[in-house]
Amino acid sequence: MTNDLMLLMPLIIVGAGAILLMLSSAYQKLTHEMAAYGSALVFAVAFLVQLSACITGNAVLFSGAFNGLLVASSFSKAAGLIILACGFFTAMSSQTYFKQNDFCSPEYYSLTVFAASGMLLLTMAQELITVFIALEIMSLAIYILVGYDRKNVISTEAVLKYLMLGAFAGAFLTMGAAFVYGATGSTKFVKIAQYVAAHGFMQTPALIGGSFFILVAFLFKAAAFPFHAWVVDVYDGASVPVTGYMATGLKTAIFAVFANFLVLDASLQSGWITYLFYIAVFTMFVGNLIAIGQQSLKRMLAASGIVHTGYLLIALVAVSTKDFTGSVIAYYLAAYAASTLGIFCALSYLGGAGEKRSTFDDFKGLAKSRPYSAAAVSVFLLSMAGIPPTAGFMGKFYIITSAIEAGQVTLAVLGIVSSIISMWYYLRLIVNMYFCEAEEQFGEAVPSNLAPICTFVLVVCVFAISLYPVVI
């Protein structure tokens, strides 16, 4: 029991912290400065607790205490670490962002913590209703965060879009859960897997339909083809730190539960591999096509997020059910999170008041006036593009290796072709920053040092992660 509670500790800390922050902002005891530090503190403490659990504890399935609702494997712990780190850096960069933008209130930070608690629960969920609850905890907080700038039309449009479509996805998930329950008599992943192993996958129509609905919900949240259309507008409408948070933390949580769901049973996985194969390919190439045409940096990053979802789907296709550690997926998520968060951290102070710099052209000549920031952004872009010696390269290397090892040579080669195409839009920003003359001044003082420091820390992370060896 105590062991189970220890494993749940990060979740408890984050949940309690979120409630505490919400209450104290309701009584107006907090300036938003203090709320920022408070939420960062919650994330940091939870991160350290999770880290100590990672170092000491082995993977313990605590089915006894929670009746098989939750799991704490090395994979879910790693995903939890990534999510908490994302939350921490989001809180820090938000603090700097809101020095230049004025629509902040202390509740903003408590919502980021609430979202994180949903994500953490999602990584551990082993049961469909728990998944639904966790998903909704996370999504509700994110809906509010996306539309936080109430006076901004684009932001309002974004939240409307996301809320409507997200509600559909949630409905699909419950529908699917109901179907699956009807077919198998249980909502627990383990029981479902046992049923599939015993009766086969294609025998029960309700099971097929149910899994299809569940898959739709997951693919929607993960921004995969053909449910990717909302991504660009929503990412564009949300404020920079929130976009970074959605692109990293949310994606990590979704892929964690996705992997947990698929690895339970070999026949369950093999039933979906063919579809995931095509979805991965289309996700990569559609994402690339969208990204190439963009003029706005945020929209390009949103589209490149779709492409990275495609790479993660490759890893998912190549996952082996026998000795699943999820290390490839976790590694890629960490690498991707470090570089994406880094670039959004940098944008949160480079964007200027009211995000006035948003297109590629606005960043022309940045290297002349802000050499360190430009260098950091270049590192993040190179990492996303997968150029060594950054973490992004190692992540791609692991994904390609696991794909070829699983016999998916075509998928690996298509992934590589896609990353060749993606060089175009990543290089474009580097070319603009370094080789073009400045059209405007970047002279204004940085409002706070937190975001620049975080950017620097993330640069170090990008290189440090690349050196960390992973067991496949």
């Binding site: 060594p388 040579v409 060896p469 067991v471």
Partner: protein, 507 residues
């Protein structure tokens, strides 16, 4: 001397370069740091050269496991093949800091990084490590070309970058495929170079992987028809970058073919060798003819360099010891001759503010030392007996005739084109009447003269007395064929008998 000499040669310049970029150092500090670091690397490499035992196997091996579960390790080592490319880099690069005194900080810093990365690519004994250095090598070139290049630098930068990255990402897939095949065949993960030779590959996927490697290297070399990025990049790049690209980076492409393609894909290589050899010869002719018509001397040198890379590549594709040894020799010869010619062209451009051949004339009278140096480097690049270029080209042609008479004859006769464009250019630039632009041409200062002197001496020594160099190369090249599969081994047993005879011919 000490245990990790290769690591120091690799990482000393990289760290120095990164530190320069990260600190607000002035350009003078940057230049002197570059000078000292590159000289230190030179001293270390000379020490390495002296201590080299010429066993034919990898020496100065360092091996630290990195990703144990995939068998990826930080493994370094040099043999007779890599030693000479490493030496070419270490010997030639210090000159740049002496000759070009007024460049930006980033120029020197990037130059340092690229030096370290190239050394790393050449010394890496693990495929993943090689790939990492191979890609890192491109980044400084990207920035130098884009920041300090000529007026049309942006398209040239994008062209070379996208071209090379596309090639190398395909190579990454091929590398991973090799690693996975090794795992499947020997039930053990490894990406070590020397283990890949044991792989038994066949079928269509092997051919695809073969081309994955070949295209990446063909782009870097560049081999016809993958040379289209070269004229723009070489012409627009600042002098030092062109020098780095032509003198060393192109050679790493050839090195890659020798190191990866020949031992691992012996069957595919034997199958496609004639095709590749012809593409080398066609590249030689095509770029040679293109060089004749150029009006811009830097562009002419670019084409001449591509033409020479054709013959070096040809030497590798001939699959016998003579041609391969000749290729390695020619790699050094080409680096010291054409590479240095690019530096001379840079000086010429800096002092006359023009690159058009017809704007120049009569420089020999104004600057006799410069003209003499230029003539020696040029004659070496043409392959005049008594210079380094002759030995290499002679051995390659010898090997080519043995491999396939038609290829050999074509390659031999194509060399004449090189003489045409070089001598014609020399005549127009250095003799004839002085033009307004070249009237006030200043000769080398003492420092510049002394900086170039060792290379000029090296060209002549390598041309007159090649034995000490050959004796370090031959064990490795012979081993290359001795260990290979039956197809090539047949050729090796035949060629071993010729070795003594060959060395007598040299003397």
């Amino acid at each position: 001397m000490f245990a990790h000499v290769l690591s120091v040669i690799i990482f000393l310049p990289i760290i120095a370069g990164l530190l320069l970029l990260a600190t607000p150092a002035s350009r003078n500090i940057a230049r002197f740091t570059g000078m000292i670091v590159s000289l230190a690397a030179l001293v270390l490499s000379l020490d390495l050269y002296m201590g080299f035992q010429s066993t034919g196997h990898l020496e100065f091996v360092e091996n630290i496991p990195w990703i144990a579960s995939l068998g990826v390790s930080y493994a370094l080592g040099v043999d007779g093949i890599s030693l000479f490319i490493l030496m070419a880099g270490s010997v030639l690069l210090p000159m740049v800091y002496f000759v070009f005194a007024t460049k930006e900080k980033g120029y020197y810093a990037n130059l340092l990084i690229v030096q370290g990365a190239m050394a790393g690519a050449v010394c890496a004994a693990d495929m993943i490590l090689f790939y990492i250095f191979w890609e890192v090598m491109l980044l400084p070139v990207f920035f130098m070309l884009g920041l300090y290049g000529g007026p049309k630098r942006l398209p040239a930068t994008l062209k070379i970058t996208l071209y090379t990255i596309a090639g190398s990402l395909l190579m990454l897939a091929a590398i991973v495929y090799l690693g996975v095949s090794y795992h499947a065949q020997f039930n053990e993960w490894s990406f070590a170079l020397d283990k890949m030779a044991q792989l038994n590959l066949s079928g269509r996927v092997a051919a695809v992987a073969f081309f994955g490697f070949m295209i990446a290297f063909a782009i870097k070399i560049p081999l016809f028809p993958f040379h289209t990025w070269l004229p723009d990049a070489y012409t627009e790049a600042p002098t030092a970058t062109t020098f780095v690209l032509s003198a060393i980076m192109a050679k790493i492409g050839v090195y890659g073919v020798i190191r990866f393609v020949v031992p691992v894909f012996d069957q595919e290589f034997a199958r496609f060798a004639v095709l590749l050899a012809y593409s080398g010869v066609i590249g030689m002719m095509y770029c040679g003819i293109a060089a004749i018509t150029q009006k811009d001397f830097k562009r002419m040198l670019a084409f001449s360099s591509a033409s020479h890379m054709g013959i070096i590549a040809l030497g590798v594709f001939c699959m016998n010891v003579q041609a391969l040894t000749g290729s390695i020799y020619q790699i050094v010869a080409h680096a010291t001759s054409t590479g240095v010619l690019f530096l001379f062209a840079g000086i010429l451009e800096e002092r006359t503010q023009t690159r058009t051949i017809s704007d120049l004339g009569g420089i020999a009278a104004k600057a006799p030392v410069f003209a003499l140096y230029f003539a020696i480097a040029m004659l070496a690049s043409v392959g005049l007996p008594g210079t380094s270029g002759f030995i290499g080209e002679f051995m390659i042609i010898l090997g080519a005739v043995k491999f396939n008479t038609a290829v050999g004859v074509l390659a031999g006769t194509t060399l004449i084109i090189g003489v045409c464009y070089m001598l014609w250019m020399f005549q127009r630039v250095f003799f004839e009447k002085a033009t307004p632009k070249s009237e006030n041409f200043k000769d080398f200062s003492l420092i510049e003269g002394l900086a170039f002197l060792p290379v000029i001496i090296l060209i002549i020594v390598m041309g007159v007395y090649p034995q000490p160099f050959l004796s370090k190369i031959t064990p490795s090249t012979a081993l290359q064929f001795a260990s290979a599969a039956p197809v090539v081994a047949q050729a090796a047993s035949a060629t071993n008998a010729h070795l003594p005879e060959l060395t007598i011919e040299q003397k």
